[in-house]
Amino acid sequence: MSESVKFSLDFAVIGISIVFVSLAIISFAIWLIRKADDGWQLHEANKKEEALEKEQNIDTTTLIIISAAVATMALGRFHIRKVRRLMKGDSQHRPWSVQGRAVLHGSHITGNRKRQR
């Protein structure tokens, strides 16, 4: 058997092993996280109750901001319907994120028309 064939055989064995080991570790890591998740999910349930109270609190702020928008509708360019639509789309998030979502580059507003394309 020539030198090069021997090398390629060796290399093939090592190569496929590395692929295998990598994916096996990923597989194991996923299994591990799934186990941990049960514990977390319990922990989460408690947290959610706290969050709910907090949310109530933040919701008020959001409401204020929305009313601010209404109040300044005199400017004639802000339509409440759009604000509401934006909230529904993201309803799985905390209200803060509703505003956060409207932000790009930490430093700039996103117009209302953003999601209309």
Partner: protein, 374 residues
């Protein structure tokens, strides 16, 4: 009149070769398969038209051909030669791939590893056929059944073979529904093909967010050569699963990947100039390519049977074939082969797990080859 003759000289009549003519027919076949047969149209149509573009007989010096520096095609081709189109395509793929089928049943990931044997056995075959190591590595990646990975690796290891490798890889990927069923049936008994698997459990949002981060760290630590592919794949997936960057993920999986796909397909096609493409090497590459797909399929199926020796809840070995990747065609093939035995056996969701794992597996394989021969 002299002007007119000069003009003719610059054009097709003055530079016509039968090789170009042959490649024009190949281009038309690609277009036919893509448009009339609906095989992988998003790739075969751009590549097919690119083959036409690349084989128009031209006088050189007009700055038109893809191999002339400064021409428009050569500039757009830089994304291939410099290797940044494939990672950006992986970004978009990450932003459109749902890994939850795999997360729901992580042991099926191993099937996606087994099928990568096709890569390394083809490497051996290519060395036996007389290719240099770096060329053999580029040819082996055809067994990964993954277009962008094949283009990325061959652009780095064997740019002169890129056209042949890409065309071969995409041809066989389009032929997966023809290649795989007989191999699967040969290697499995009817009883095995009838195995029903349990539906998997749902996957939590947290796991879906953590997965791309952790999988990236694991693969990058073990095979850093895969970073350019898997880094972008998992980044795209994180943009998608984190939910908070949905607008970025949406662009990555639509406009961004579309733009890159158009440019990649057209220029890869245009790089298959007859004088570079119609060589004995290309024929060897096509033969090795079919070997690669066959071996990969067989390795996946056989490994599933080996796993069954140790498992209580048996795996239907058909889905081992999905480990080659070729997403989602090979998973669909598994569904069909299974349904031929029992129309109520719904394998496709299970087959998606080795299917997407196969993408990760072949990128790791590419990383190993790049580290060794890059």
């Amino acid at each position: 009149m002299e002007i007119f003759l000069d003009f003719v000289q610059a054009g097709a009549i003055g530079n016509f070769t039968w090789g170009n003519f042959g490649m024009l027919i190949v281009g038309c076949i690609f277009l036919y398969l893509g448009i009339a047969k609906d095989y992988e149209p998003l790739l075969l149509v751009p590549i097919g038209f690119g083959i036409l573009v690349g084989n128009i007989p031209l006088a050189s010096g007009m700055q038109i051909g893809i191999y002339e520096e400064g021409s428009v095609l050569s500039i757009l081709y830089q994304g291939v030669t410099q290797g940044w189109y494939p990672p950006l395509i992986f970004l978009g793929i990450g932003a459109m791939t749902d890994f939850s089928c795999m997360l729901a049943n992580p042991k099926l990931i191993l099937l996606g590893a087994a099928a990568q044997a096709g890569i390394f056995l083809t490497f051996i075959g290519a060395v036996l056929l007389g290719f240099e190591y770096h060329e053999a590595a580029a040819i082996g990646i055809i067994g990964g059944a993954d277009g962008p990975t094949a283009i990325f690796l061959s652009s780095k290891l064997a740019p002169e073979l890129l056209g042949a490798i890409a065309v071969s890889a995409y041809s066989y990927m389009a032929l997966v529904p023809v290649i795989q069923p007989p191999i699967i049936k040969l290697l499995t008994s009817k009883k095995e093909r009838l195995i029903k698997m349990k539906p998997s459990k749902p996957v939590s949002k947290r796991l879906r967010i953590l997965f791309p981060i952790i999988a990236f760290l694991i693969t990058a630590f073990i095979a850093p050569g895969s970073l350019n592919l898997l880094g972008f794949l998992f980044f795209g997936n994180l943009l998608k699963e984190s939910m908070v960057t949905e607008r970025l993920a949406a662009t990555a999986r639509t406009a961004f990947i579309d733009i890159i796909t158009i440019l990649l397909g057209l220029t890869v096609g245009a790089s298959t100039d007859a004088s570079r493409f119609l060589t004995p090497e290309s024929i060897k590459i096509f033969i090795l390519g079919s070997l690669a797909f066959g071996v990969a399929t067989a390795a996946g199926v056989i490994f599933a049977k080996i796993m069954n020796v140790f498992l209580k809840n048996k795996i239907n070995p058909i889905i081992g074939a999905a480990g080659v990747s070729a997403v989602p065609d090979s998973a669909r093939v598994c569904q069909m082969v299974g349904a031929q035995e029992d129309p109520n056996n719904f394998l496709i969701m299970h087959a998606m797990a080795p299917n997407v794992a196969g993408v990760i597996g072949s990128a790791i394989g590419a990383g190993v080859l790049l580290a060794a021969f890059g």
